[in-house]
């Protein structure tokens, strides 16, 4: 057993920033991560613009910002993009504290390459760095404070005291397969989104929604779970490139005027946005591409074709020259760890890349208030795992702001909470034994359903019926499928290999429990919301409705997931502002 003041589950952007804040507020801190510190999760993969209002960018950060901007205008833009579903109390401190948090990162040595202007923002607000640089900066600060980090250890459930207070978590040491109670006065979840619920995602393998799931099982509310953002044009093949956003970056994002073609060679965007065509918004692009795929006009690997054949070769070469100064694509078409020069040579000869949408971000998550407290005493949540900041859609650059702002604020609040509370060292052994038994039953030799296969089945259902395009009947079908899956498939999961030491199939089985919660929450929430708004698109309710200025909440009611609505938390902007 390990005992600490503040337990932080998840070690990357949000978790690391929270650890620093909690430590500086006087708490003893323990970070636990199922991966490796600075080497897992979503943060390091970000191209990473960090939003601050452009006025502060100029005055505080000394970047070429525009002083006509203000935190208030930034606030409005976030709210507009979120279609007015955002929690405004969270937004108040988001815009107010962003400049301080970025300034601090720069003082700590984070490199800034530029201030960029991305769609949806009225002014240039994206302080352009990289996920790798953000993590290097945070890792240095965590190490300097000698904060303990427990790697390769998965938090499999929260521990609850008899009066329902969160008391830490049960960890599973993945190296040797033993369970270890992690007892804390305050517990903070910072595990990111649940993108692995879909078969294609821009995120790393780790993002399986474990944080949302353990919070939900313990009784915490989840909010806005129907709001999932898709990244429209990612590579589909070969598998090594699956979900890589290179085509979007060089094309529709801010690059070349590329053409998207269906299998008949038709430039289908003319049906959706004849003016902006491929340069339309991410959600319209994703819906359009998915419609082509679902209606049988897709490409061989389940996407559409992105063509540059109409562009002269020397133009494409010159594009690389000027575009590479932005930093996301380097000389020789280097992009992240990839070198796409061979691919681009073929593209210049007329070959079209096959592209499709990939799951990119969860706007929804654990419901928090402006102190980053969840609906359960003793439990905090920050970053992508927490819902409410972005409403129905997220602006580019606001995820990085969220991890820094909520990390700092949540960490400090958790430390204060821990200082005020005694904690509960008297562990409920029966609770721990129940969890252990539940997870150990998956270690079976033969005859059952292999977890990897089960996960793929689940992802397929999620993609086809609760993905980019939804309707009442498809969402009902998901819930029926899930009912059967929980009743008949989960009890039959069998890992094949039965050793407890770093057994990837056992990890898969445990993560499937998380994915089931994520998918059910998406489907239940999406079914209730009978309109289309932001990232949520219902084919049977294509319009946004004034009746739906409400958040949707799901919670665990004695093992059953209940969905209901909740009034939006407002400060300066009222519902009338968002009316159609």
């Amino acid at each position: 057993m390990l005992v600490t003041d503040v337990l932080i589950i998840g070690s990357e952007g949000a978790g690391a920033r929270a650890a620093i804040a909690a430590h500086d507020a006087g708490a003893d801190v323990l970070i636990v991560t199922k991966g490796r510190f600075g080497k897992s999760g979503a943060t390091i993969t970000g191209l990473a613009d960090i939003d601050v209002d452009s006025h502060s960018a100029k005055e505080i950060l000394k970047l070429p910002g525009n002083t006509n901007d203000s935190p208030e205008i930034f606030f409005e833009d976030i709210l507009k993009e979120g279609k007015y579903l955002n929690n405004q109390k969270i937004l108040e401190f988001h815009v107010a504290e962003a400049p301080l948090r970025v300034k601090e990162m720069m003082d700590w040595g984070m490199k800034v390459r530029a201030l960029i202007h991305t769609p949806g923002h009225r002014y240039p607000r994206g302080v352009y760095s990289s996920g790798i640089d953000i993590m290097k900066t945070l890792v240095r600060q965590v190490r300097a404070r000698k904060i303990k980090v427990l790697e390769d250890t998965m938090a499999v459930d929260l521990l609850l005291s008899a009066d329902g207070i969160v008391n830490g978590a049960l960890g599973l040491n993945l190296h040797n397969g033993t369970f270890i109670p992690l007892v804390a006065k305050a517990t903070m979840i910072a595990t990111g989104g649940g993108m692995m619920v879909y078969p294609i995602q821009t995120a790393p393998e780790d993002l399986t929604g474990d944080g949302q799931a353990i919070a939900y099982r313990a009784g915490a509310e989840l909010i806005d779970m129907e709001m999932v953002q898709f990244h429209p044009c990612d590579l589909l093949y070969p598998p090594a490139w699956r979900g890589i956003g290179f085509p979007f970056t060089i094309g529709p994002s801010a690059g070349l005027d590329v053409w998207l073609l269906n299998k008949y060679g038709q430039r289908f965007m003319s049906k959706w946005d004849p003016e902006r065509m491929e340069k339309t918004t991410r959600d319209i692009l994703s819906i359009a591409i998915m419609t082509e795929v679902l209606e049988g006009r897709g490409s061989a690997y389940g996407g559409v074709y992105m063509s540059l054949a109409h562009l002269p070769h020397n133009l494409v070469d010159y594009f690389l020259e000027w575009f590479s100064q932005r930093g996301s694509v380097g000389p020789n078409w280097k992009y992240q760890g990839f070198n796409f020069s061979e691919l681009m040579e073929r593209v210049k000869k007329g070959y079209a890349m096959e592209v499709g949408p990939a799951c990119h971000f969860f706007m929804g998550g654990i419901r928090i208030n402006e102190k980053c407290e969840t609906s359960l005493p003793g439990l905090f949540a920050i970053g992508e795992v927490a819902g409410g900041t972005h409403g129905a859609n997220r602006l580019s650059g606001n995820a990085c702001t969220q991890i820094l702002v909520q990390g700092a604020r949540g960490g400090e609040n958790a430390a204060r909470y821990a200082a005020r509370h005694e904690g509960h060292l008297d562990l409920d052994r029966s609770q721990i034994e129940k969890i252990e038994q539940r997870l150990l039953r998956y270690l079976k030799e033969d005859g059952g359903l292999r977890p990897i296969k089960a996960r793929k089945e689940l992802q397929k259902v999620a993609w086809e019926k609760a993905g980019i395009i939804r309707e009442g009947s498809s969402l009902q079908a998901v819930l029926e499928w899930l009912g059967d899956f929980k009743m008949n498939s989960i009890p039959q999961l069998a890992t094949g290999a039965t050793e407890r030491q770093y057994n990837r199939e056992w990890m898969e089985a445990i993560q499937i429990e998380s994915l089931v919660v994520i998918l059910e929450a998406i489907a239940k929430s999406a079914l209730l919301r009978e309109e289309s708004r932001g990232a949520h698109y219902r084919r049977d309710f294509k319009k946004m409705s004034n009746d739906w200025f409400r958040n949707i909440i799901v919670r665990n009611d004695h093992g059953e997931m209940i969905a209901h609505t909740r009034p939006i938390v407002m400060t300066r902007w009222k519902t009338e502002d968002g009316l159609l």
């Binding site: 490796r36 897992s40 290097k136 598998p239 090594a240 760890g337 292999r450 890992t495 050793e499 990837r504």
Partner: protein, 110 residues
């Protein structure tokens, strides 16, 4: 996908210190898919043969570098290295093996 019938031999270093006295190499026949990386092949083996085969995989884009392995004696990132024929996959530092290809982290965190 044109070469779907072709198979390759993948030899892998196996060692679970909790169970095994010493390490061994196991050979798996894996269908050849154009563009598969070492990590894709390991995932295939996890699915088709042994879910217990330990290796690390997170970012899938050459950033986190924790999937580092030795392939035919050469140190590579598993998620970036394209497989073109028979291969032998081993841990980079056998004395740091936790299990199979999974190594404990080096002290140098940056």
């Amino acid at each position: 996908m044109s070469d779907e019938q072709r198979t390759i031999e993948v030899r892998i270093f196996r060692f679970n210190p909790c169970v095994d006295k010493e390490s061994r190499h196991e050979t798996y026949n894996v269908p050849y898919f154009e563009g598969y990386t070492v990590s894709n092949v390991l995932q295939y083996i996890n699915e088709a043969y042994d879910g217990g085969l330990a290796h690390y995989l997170s970012c899938r884009r050459g950033i986190c570098a924790e999937c580092i392995v030795k392939v035919n004696g050469k140190v590579v990132l598993g998620c970036m290295e394209i497989v073109r024929g028979d291969i032998t996959i081993e841990p980079v530092t056998p004395d740091r093996v936790i299990k199979d290809l999974l190594m404990s982290r080096s002290q140098d965190v940056d």
